[in-house]
């Protein structure tokens, strides 16, 4: 079984984002693997190591050359090879079309995406990719297991979970629970990653259906109103009569 993990390169969430018009100012930004994608990759590696019959784990990223350090990190963590589609990810649809081309050129049974990217928060690409490929898809995935050589997928539903079987290839969008701690690359992995194949692919023509035309900063918050530790009553009063929330 071959797995493809779609990896997005995003600013570390602790860095303050600044904009020049609608462009993110790159200075001072730490780039990381989108946290969900990192967990997806971690789960893929766990499955491979458990002897569940995973032959190869590939990663795919849509982005200019600047995303390669993040891709190398994914290789250092343990992916076997990597594909970069050489273009800015202009919007969800455009990016999904590029990823669909990568999938078609390979031979994958399981395609993993994160539930959302930490930059655009599009909540779109996994489902779009599946639709473009005509594959089944499962969202809100909290566990991926292989039982008797077949995929068994858990998804969250309101107030519980469902366990699904599926035809493959299948696209899953993973969230919390899929793996606990992301892997950190070890020295040996970093050395090996340099020699692992990272193939650059030219982008295909695709429509860009949405664009960011303006960035609006959130309104500054009014200062917090403090109450004494002994004055729980004062707080309750404010919640009842000022904030009107209880």
């Amino acid at each position: 079984m071959n797995i493809l993990v779609c990896v997005s390169n995003v600013p570390d969430t602790t860095t303050k984002v600044k904009f020049n018009g609608t462009e993110l100012e790159a200075e001072g930004v730490q780039w990381i693997i989108n946290p969900w994608d990192e967990l997806a990759l971690t789960r893929a590696l766990e499955l491979k190591e458990s002897g569940a019959g995973i032959d190869k784990i590939s990663i795919a990223s849509v982005g200019a050359i600047g995303v390669e350090p993040t891709m190398r990190k994914a290789l250092a963590i343990g992916a076997d090879d990597a594909f970069r589609v050489d273009t800015e990810p202009k919007d969800s649809y455009f990016t999904a079309v590029q990823l669909a081309e990568v999938v078609k050129a390979g031979n994958y049974d399981l395609i993993m995406t994160g539930y959302e990217s930490a930059d655009f928060n599009g909540i779109a690409i996994g489902a779009m990719l599946a639709e473009l490929l005509g594959y089944p898809s499962i969202g809100a995935v909290t566990a991926v297991n292989i039982v008797d050589g077949k995929l068994q997928i858990d998804r969250e539903i309101d107030g519980g979970k469902e366990v699904l079987s599926t035809e493959s290839p299948v696209v899953v969008s993973v969230q919390k629970g899929i793996a606990i701690d992301p892997r950190i690359p070890a020295m040996r992995g970093i050395m090996m990653a340099r020699r692992k194949p990272l193939t650059v692919i030219a982008a295909v023509e695709a429509d860009v259906l949405t664009e960011i035309v303006e960035i609006e900063l959130p309104q500054a918050k009014a200062a917090v109103k403090m109450f004494d530790a002994e004055d729980a009553k004062g707080l309750v009063e404010a919640l009842r009569n000022e904030a009107n929330v209880i």
């Binding site: 969430t13 602790t14 946290p35 969900w36 649809y93 959302e116 930490a118 928060n121 599009g122 909540i123 779109a124 489902a127 779009m128 599946a130 639709e131 089944p136 898809s137 499962i138 969202g139 809100a140 997928i153 969250e156 539903i157 309101d158 107030g159 519980g160 979970k161 469902e162 366990v163 079987s165 599926t166 035809e167 969008s173 919390k176 429509d207 860009v208 259906l209 949405t210 960011i212 035309v213 303006e214 960035i215 609006e216 900063l217 959130p218 918050k221 917090v224 109103k225 403090m226 109450f227 004494d228 530790a229 004055d231 729980a232 707080l235 404010a238 919640l239 904030a243 929330v245 209880i246």
Partner: protein, 315 residues
């Protein structure tokens, strides 16, 4: 042209978020001067469907057979067919597990511009521009949609319910369903518990609580005001609380009317999941805890003293 709203029911019942969705769709339909149609799949009693009439639909369409379990491909195909039949230029979903899994498929199929997790009406219709939070709640992006058809998903508890009684008819719509490629083997569900994602009031606690044995007072506080319980990530990683309660960048993103954070430092990844809450209360013994920067009300003190007093004051 029309606005099509997809409604999900839970064991044959609608939730408040469905009524928010219809209220939102109706406002957009009115602004655009087009009808709003509502789509319902699966087994549901007519008197439940009747409830939707309170929120201004021009027609309610239902399809029963073939929707007993969620296969995203089947649902997306069906919704897209309905959108085409009804000449919808706007398809609106709830931003929840179901909407998130289907909306992208429908958008790709219709070649629509999709914007997920919106919380406000469009800024303009021509060109179509709408705002959404990006960079995990750090800024808003004004997003222009260049496609003729738009697909939106609306965050819960961000748009008010507006009553708008109509005399819409309920009709069956015939749709051609593909064969499902996924199959639900088992379902495991807790019923009767207030879900975090539905809750208007949330009581949340972090590592400051020290251990799972100290959650009694958190649950009592939640019960006192009818709130759901939540937690920070280390708390669920430690197994003190279930993963479903974890809020933040890698947990659930919520927007309740009230969020009470107890013994939570307010790390940026945590705040990303709660900053849209209408009112945030922080209880922390450290006056420099960053949670006070995002809180509306705060108490500096020991949670083990403050929380019992708060419960008393509420009773």
């Amino acid at each position: 042209m029309s606005v099509l709203v997809y409604t999900e029911n839970w064991d044959g019942k609608f939730k408040k978020s469905t009524f928010e969705l219809l209220s939102y769709g109706k406002k957009i339909a009115q602004d655009m001067g087009v009808p709003m149609y509502v789509l319902s799949f699966g087994e549901i009693a007519n008197d439940e469907l009747e409830k939707l009439k309170n929120y201004g639909p021009d027609k309610i369409f239902k399809a029963i057979e073939g929707f007993d379990q969620l296969d995203n491909e089947v649902y997306a195909s069906a919704i897209s067919q309905a959108a085409e039949k009804l000449d919808a230029t706007m398809v609106i979903f709830a931003q929840d597990n179901v909407g998130n899994a289907i909306a992208g498929r429908v958008a790709a199929r219709l070649k629509a511009g999709m914007i997920a997790a919106v919380s406000a009406l469009p800024i303009s219709y021509d060109p179509f521009i709408i705002k959404k939070k990006i960079y995990t709640n750090k800024v808003f992006g004004h997003i222009k949609v260049n496609a003729n058809i738009k697909v939106l998903s609306l965050s819960k508890n961000t748009f008010e319910v507006i009553e708008n009684p109509s005399s819409a008819e309920i009709e069956t719509i015939a749709l051609d369903l593909p064969t499902a490629k996924t199959k639900v083997e088992s379902t495991d569900k807790v019923t009767g518990k207030l879900l975090l994602t539905d809750a208007e009031l949330v009581v949340s606690a972090g590592r400051g609580l020290k251990g799972t044995e100290n959650w009694g007072m958190i649950e009592e506080l939640a019960q006192t005001i009818g709130a759901a319980t939540a937690c920070s990530r280390p708390v669920s990683d430690e197994g003190w609380r279930p993963h479903t309660e974890h809020v933040g960048q890698t947990g659930k993103i919520i927007a309740p009317n009230l969020y009470i954070a107890i013994g939570i430092s307010g790390a940026i990844q945590h705040v990303g999941g709660i900053s849209s809450s209408k009112c945030i209360v922080a209880i922390n013994k450290d006056p420099d805890a960053p949670i006070f920067e995002v809180a509306d009300y705060g108490i500096i003190g020991d949670a083990f003293k403050v929380v019992p007093e708060l419960i008393d004051a509420l009773k």
